[in-house]
Amino acid sequence: MPFLLIDHVTKYFSNPSGAGQVCIFKDVTIKIEKGEFVTCIGHSGCGKSTLLNIIAGLETPTEGGIILNGREASGPGLDRMVVFQNFALMPWMTVFENIALAVRSAYPDWSHDQVAAHVKKYIALVGLKGAENKRPAALSGGMKQRVGLARAFSIEPKVLLLDEPFAQIDALTRGVIQEELIQMWNTSRNTVFMVTHDVDEAILLSDRILLMTNGPEARIAEMVHVSIARPRSRETIIEHPHYYKIRNHIIHFLVRHAKHGGSDGATPELATNGNPIIVDFERDSLVAH
């Protein structure tokens, strides 16, 4: 039994234009081991954010369920913390209060001083020392998401869910925060499920990348192993021989699926049994030699 099992999850939405229901995705099964970093890439509207919300417990699946550490996880909880695309910091609270709100709930037995020390530690970890008493409106997008990350890591969740966390941050800052995320993850080794549009980000951060077809009735078509050894950094990763192989493979997949319904309606890349095709350049090169 994997640490986190997304078990045959199907989601229908009621059709906004009238009667009937639209199938967002069907029979999605993902197995994630403890400490693994898994990313899901797909075009807008393929339902990957819905999938993330279902894991978080913020939406209910029509069929199937989430099993975390051997137990069914239904409804939101402190064991599955989300980092939101638009930060979701309470604008009426300071940076400190935003994080303390989560810490106090996660550790209800802690004293006031313990909470304060813990919050300060994570604020320092994301390099926001001195900004404790600022309100989110006074922070740049990058700083806001640093607070979001600090809040998520501070409660030490079993699973960290990143919902396009860097999509609203400018490209230069994005790279810096990605490396900060790598460092934080290296020490905490949370299990992470991320949703993104950014192929480079996915390769830099993930162990495995799931490629999703377009909705309706989207499915996980391929599973790409990122066969690049850690620790990785933005500078050295592009030197790796597999980097562009992986990158090109993913981009080809996304371009193929840019048109609605895949290539000519047929889906030859899907394995006949419905399981995703596994792409692993490490294994391929071993076979070739």
């Binding site: 978080a56 417990g57 913020l58 409804g75 939101p76 909880g77 402190l78 599955r80 913390m81 989300v82 939101f84 638009n86 979701a88 309470m90 604008p91 009426w92 609270m93 709100l101 989560a102 709930s105 996660a106 309100r135 409106a137 409660i155």
Partner: protein, 348 residues
Amino acid sequence: MESMNRTLMPEVTQTASADTPVRPSLQRLLERWSSSAWQWATTRRGNSERGGVMAAQPQGNPWYIAGFVLVVFLLSWHFFTLRSSFDQRGLSEEQLQMMEFNGDIVRAADGSYAWNPEKEKVKGVPGPLAVLEKAREELAEAFVKKGTNDHGIAYLVLYTVSRFAGGFLAASVIAIMLGVILGLNKVLFRAANPFIQIMKPISPLAWMPLLLYTVKDPKWTAVLVVFMAAIWPTLATTAFGVSSLRKEYLHVAAIVQLSWFQRLFRVILPGAAPTIVNGLRISFGSALVAVVPAEMLLGELGVGYLSWIEWNNLDIAGVIFAILVVGVVGVILDSGFNKLAGLVTYQE
């Protein structure tokens, strides 16, 4: 004076630059006038040195303009209401006696005649000096109770403010509680919305006969009229503010497992606070508008009552004074409200 200034030029005070306090004290106001006059003079000189080219940026202090408008207004008021003194030439002794008998004129000790000052009060509109004199009289005995229905102006203000505060606070608490419930439950909101929409435009005074009939006590009726005036705008905007609260805030609250109490006081109410305050502001205005006619109609002691009783006495200067008092009380309450509102609003 200053209060008139404020009420005359509300837009100007709103657009004052960020470093200008919106409502400076009279002393600071005068300082500003003198400094802006100085600035004006120096820029003029600077411009003439540069060949008289107009400065590109707009000059002038809004208080300077407001003061000017006030002075023009007071002067024209004074001159339009000025009446010529009594001229007895061309009138026979008999006619003069007849006029004195009617009380139109009074005879002075030296044998000359003048308009009767008592009758003057009800002839035409009194000038600013007459109003000033009336204000001086009223303020001198502000804390005097002469009888059951003749209390000093300070007491009248106190009665009006407490009546207003009671109705407004009760309405606000109930409206916010109901609004949160409706805002969190879309079905209930939709069900209740038609009723709110029907109740909202009804003038609170229209309720008065029914309220008076039911509670049978003018004191409570006046408070309830204020209550009816204040409840609907706050209810509608609170429900709207809570229902349009960004989902992510509630998601975060759900993930970190806040209790419903924490969720309400740490997330929902502070999150909807700017919208709620907007509703309270509308309620505040309509309650303030309702309290004056309620006092008039119910004969409850207060500043609205003062205006009506002065009208019954045919003391027009007293009516104008009462109007000014209503304005001053409104401005003071409003600035207090704005201070409170500033504490709970936040920047997105």
